[in-house]
């Protein structure tokens, strides 16, 4: 193990080589359905590549999501920061210090160029994924480059959105198997960005609530149900092309190969859920709590049969069940790649858990995917009785950086 870690350092130190070596790991996971995951949870995930990491990357266990506002009008300062961020992100995802000097490397009178809390920790599968919000385009006169798909999300019935924890000019999704590593990455980007960007809000998450790979077991959300059974998976390239990746002609060229990121912080009123009968819980979800099978079947991956009826002629999967309302057949075939996380932000002062789901979904066009699906859910889903949508975000995530001299946002600011 020690030898491998040293190898990672050596290669990454040599620049792109290290990334290429780590990239092989990612390719193996996404390229061959039969391969079991070769990457241990401590390994590095390639930062450079055709797509940004952190989208179809098998969902890591931990999240630190952050949204920034740009506080300068100086375009060159912003571009300079994005270059610095890219260099730091390439280093940190490879398991290195954020800066070339490091946490303990510099002269004693200077603050270190890495904050140090990840010293001694492996890369831990860290991915850093960047997205740009609609508000950024207005600030920098980039109107022509703003994709039509980046239109503001409508207000959905029942929304209780707090603007202070919504939106933002730039987002960074940091996922890792170790929360310390994800937090370290966000903290260092925030530090590097001081004077150029300001943190608008951030969210910690644990316990991935989706599977983005067939190699992963389906996890459970805080309602105790398996989540992500019917999610888009990394091993379904044709479906990903149809539903996930922006295609040529969809919008501005700089987004081709990218994806749109929707975030929703969904508070779950778990105390009332917990005194709901198992029967009712399962009826609301439309799946069994144990196996996760649709109520029309017996196995988790059985396709739901919405025509199936019980002895009294009632649908086995209720009309207002979550699984039915969210299903592609109810939404013009629209599908999402979800990679949300559970959150608990302590308690709320009334003794209730301030907890829920930090929903994250990637898609080719939110106007045809998230918006109709959420509209359907917001109107009819009986689960809403136990939910409050308190934050919302929409960001355009460009394709990946193919070379070490490229940087986040270059296609946008070029």
């Amino acid at each position: 193990m020690q030898v491998q870690r040293r190898k990672v350092i050596g290669l990454a130190g040599a620049g792109v080589l290290g990334v290429a070596a780590a990239g092989a790991v990612g390719l193996q996971v996404t390229g061959d359905e039969k391969t079991t995951p070769v990457a241990s949870t401590s390994d590095a995930i390639a930062f450079f590549g055709e797509r940004q990491a952190g989208i179809v990357t098998p969902a890591q266990d931990r999240l630190h999501f952050v949204a920034f506002d740009v506080i300068t009008k100086d375009r060159a300062a912003l571009v300079g920061m994005l270059e610095s961020w890219t260099a730091a992100a390439a280093r940190m995802t490879a398991g290195l210090d954020a800066g070339t000097i490091g946490a303990v490397g510099g002269i004693p009178e200077s603050p270190p160029d890495d904050t140090g809390e990840a010293l001694g920790l492996p890369p831990s599968g860290l991915t850093l994924t960047i997205g740009f919000g609609a508000s950024l385009f207005a600030k920098f006169g980039l109107g022509e480059k703003k994709p039509a798909a980046l239109a503001d999300l409508p207000k959905f019935p029942g929304d209780a959105i707090d603007p202070a924890i919504s939106g933002g000019d730039i987002c960074v999704q940091a996922c890792a198997h170790d929360p310390q590593v994800a937090v370290h990455a966000v903290r260092n980007l925030a530090r590097i960005g001081m004077g150029v960007v300001s943190v608008r809000w951030s969210q910690l998450g644990f316990g991935r609530t989706s599977s983005t790979s067939t190699t992963q077991a389906t996890p459970r959300n805080l309602f105790g149900f398996k989540d992500g059974t019917a999610n888009l998976k990394a091993e379904e390239p044709a479906l990903l092309d149809e539903h996930l990746w922006v295609r040529p002609g969809d919008g501005p060229d700089w987004m081709t190969g990218g994806s749109y990121l929707v975030t929703r912080k969904i508070r779950m009123i778990v105390e009332t859920w917990d005194r709901t009968s198992l029967l009712e819980q399962e009826t609301i979800v439309g799946r069994s709590k144990g196996e996760g099978a649709p109520l029309s079947g017996t196995q988790e991956f059985d396709e739901p049969d919405f025509t199936a009826v019980d002895g009294e002629g009632e649908p086995k999967i209720a009309k207002v069940s979550h699984v039915r309302l969210a299903h592609p057949t109810e939404n013009n075939g629209a599908r999402l790649l979800r990679r949300g996380y559970n959150f608990v932000d302590g308690s709320d002062g009334l003794g209730r858990l301030n907890a829920g789901l930090f929903f994250i979904a990637f898609q080719r066009d939110p106007r045809r995917q998230f918006v109709p699906i959420q509209t359907n859910l917001a109107r009819h889903d009986v689960m809403n009785e136990y939910l409050r949508h308190v934050s919302s975000g929409l960001f355009a995530c460009p394709p990946g950086l193919r070379a070490a001299d490229d940087f986040w946002g270059r296609s946008l600011f070029a």
């Binding site: 350092i9 946490a103 303990v104």
Partner: protein, 379 residues
């Protein structure tokens, strides 16, 4: 895998020790400085053989080898036994380095076997004009310039504190309230200097609840509470007198002390850290809400320290100086929006969004300022 990189460092650290400090290379195989520059000291339980009794001004490195049976120490004293540098706890068989910067003059070296007494002393003469105290004349000038600033501020501090104290003793609460943030302005501009004298700072500027058990709540903030919360200053006279006495003490101390360029740089950063932690939150002046006066004063004090260092910084990193100029201007402009008459709006009149803007400004300014100390120390 993140690996602490210590190699390049040892050299950098040893080369940048400012003023008098001990460079400790542990077992004596110091990779830092060229061995030929070192003055060897053979210490035993009865002798202290210093290989040379003189040196050119500048950085002098002593390598002390303890060949005795007792733990020893090595000191360099200026006249009056002022310690210029020391290395303690050299165990038998060990060798340690002491790096000290010395200007022309006569000094004494001392080994202290058993770490007691005046030690075994030898004369040590330093001649010539050093390339600099900490490297160059510009840094020397910076400390002189900043000292002048401290003097001007302490003069006003005493004057305004006296007026404030007199208003309290005269029972004139309105006048005292008006003078409170004004007197504090001069204090807040030079606070890092004041903090060097650790026992006085808490007495003068401690906030309620910061006291250790048995320690009394005194100073500016006690009088602030009397004025704004208790609204009774009829018994505040003795406390006001005590504040004035303490302020006078610290003013005398501050005017005697000379800060090193590195302390100046750190002071500039610490003043902004004060803003970021205490003023933005309104914790500092929690009764009067006059935090923006302190905010402005901290920024001004920080700017004064940077201004003193400016000629040296221009030489080392002109781009950083430009950034600092821009960020100081931006911070001032952001603060200016909250001006009210001769002073500032109260903290509780600002919205959360206002405070966020000010917080961002301070972070944006403090980040590049945090690089100044390293630049000053670096060669």
């Amino acid at each position: 895998m993140r690996t602490p990189r210590l190699l390049a460092l040892v050299a950098a650290a040893a080369a940048t020790v400012p003023l008098a400090a001990c460079g400790d290379s542990g077992d004596g195989d110091g990779a830092a400085t060229g061995a030929s520059d070192k003055i060897t000291v053979d210490a035993s339980d009865t002798e202290c053989k210093v290989a040379s009794s003189e040196s050119a001004a500048g950085t002098v490195t002593f390598t002390i080898a303890n060949k005795g049976a007792k733990v020893t120490e090595f000191y360099v004293y200026a006249p009056g036994d002022r310690v210029m540098g020391e290395v303690e706890n050299i165990a038998p068989g060990l060798s340690r380095d002491l790096i000290v910067e010395l200007t022309a003059g006569t000094y004494e070296t001392a080994c202290k076997p058993g770490m007691i007494g005046k030690g075994i002393r030898n004369g040590f003469k330093v001649s010539g004009s050093a390339a600099a105290l900490t490297e160059d004349a510009k840094l020397g000038q910076a400390t002189t310039d900043y000292q002048r600033y401290v003097k001007s501020q302490t003069g006003a501090l005493i004057e305004k504190t006296t007026e404030f104290v007199n208003a309290i003793k005269a029972g004139d609460a309105e006048k005292a309230k008006a003078l409170f943030p004004v007197a504090r302005t001069y204090w807040e501009r030079i606070e890092p200097v004041a903090e060097i004298f650790g026992d006085l700072d808490p007495q003068i500027d401690g906030r309620e609840g910061d006291q250790e058990p048995g320690q009394e709540f005194t100073g500016f903030h006690k009088l602030e509470k009397d004025l704004w919360v208790t609204k009774d200053i009829s018994k505040s006279g003795p406390m006001a007198d005590r504040l004035l006495t303490d302020v006078q003490k610290i003013v005398d101390e501050a005017n005697k002390a000379t800060l090193s360029p590195v302390q100046l740089a750190n002071g500039a950063k610490e003043l902004l850290d004060e803003v970021a932690t205490g003023k933005i939150t309104g914790e500092e002046d929690r009764y009067s809400h006059t935090d923006l006066w302190d905010f402005a004063a901290n920024v001004e004090g920080s700017q004064a320290a940077i201004a003193a260092l400016r000629p040296a910084l221009e030489e080392k990193d002109a781009a950083l100086v430009k950034t600092l100029d821009e960020r100081f201007a931006s911070t001032e402009a952001a603060l200016e929006k909250h001006r009210s008459g001769d002073g500032w709006k109260l903290h509780n009149e600002l919205s959360q969004a206002d405070l966020k803007v000010l917080s961002d400004e301070i972070n944006a300014l403090a980040e590049p300022i945090s690089k100044v100390a390293g630049l000053v120390a670096g060669k």
